[in-house]
């Protein structure tokens, strides 16, 4: 039995995104993240948009599935603002 298991990158490539350049719908304060020890965002994001770069949390809003997990799970308040993208922007779900 088989069905191909996709990496987050491969899975995201199947989606359609209209990226609102210059208007991130999630704002992350890296100064707060620098003092966070848990950094659950690195593991909970289903799109793996929170990554560790040179020991710092980096975040990319393009590719966001708009699930809200980071908003709920961020304990230190590093996610300072979370809203849905402006109308017509963001992820376009076609089948669900």
């Amino acid at each position: 039995m088989s069905i191909k298991r996709l990496s987050p990158e491969e899975a995201l490539a199947l989606n359609k995104f209209a990226v609102d350049e210059g208007h991130p719908h999630i704002v992350v304060d890296k100064a707060i993240c620098a003092n966070c020890t848990d950094r659950v965002c690195l593991v909970v994001c289903p799109a793996r948009l929170y990554r560790l770069k040179d020991g710092q949390v980096s975040f990319e809003f393009a590719g966001c599935l708009e699930c809200g997990t980071c908003r709920v799970m961020c304990k230190e308040g590093g996610v300072t603002s979370w809203s849905y993208p402006r109308a017509t922007f963001g992820v376009t779900y076609r089948t669900s």
Partner: protein, 168 residues
Amino acid sequence: MHPAILALIEGGTTVEYGAHLVPEMGYRGIPEKLYREGIVVIGDAARFGINTGLIIRGMDLAMVSGLAAARAILQAQDTSHVGPLYMKKLEELLLLGEERSYQNFHRVFEIPRMFREVPKLANEAMQFLFTVDGKIPTPMLHGLLNVARRNVSLGQMLADGWKVYRSL
């Protein structure tokens, strides 16, 4: 992937990738109006979900509300009848009744201790009960009370217990 699910999607291809939080508020979270002429709101969009802390339901409610919508649309004489008929079908299929029976449950999860202190208490209680280390054990009731006191005060325990009792 669970083997039971794998058999159902065998040979399939992924067409889209999504993620989404589950509406957990239950009956109290359902929007006041679930239809307008030309639209009926079903499943997750209607916030049909039940979280009892032990199971989180939603897929079954999505299917049942889809069924209710389909029946309403098929039976309605006129588009303006679809909405009210849909609500009637939701009642007939017991979906709203099920939601109502758990309508205060979300209050249990408003207690912040439910996610930290209470699980820790349960773990420590089990550890105490299942530890055999060759020493004279603390009498069970006394030991359990010690574990409880380490995690929550008596007042908190009573207040939380009362809230849980009132919400079930």
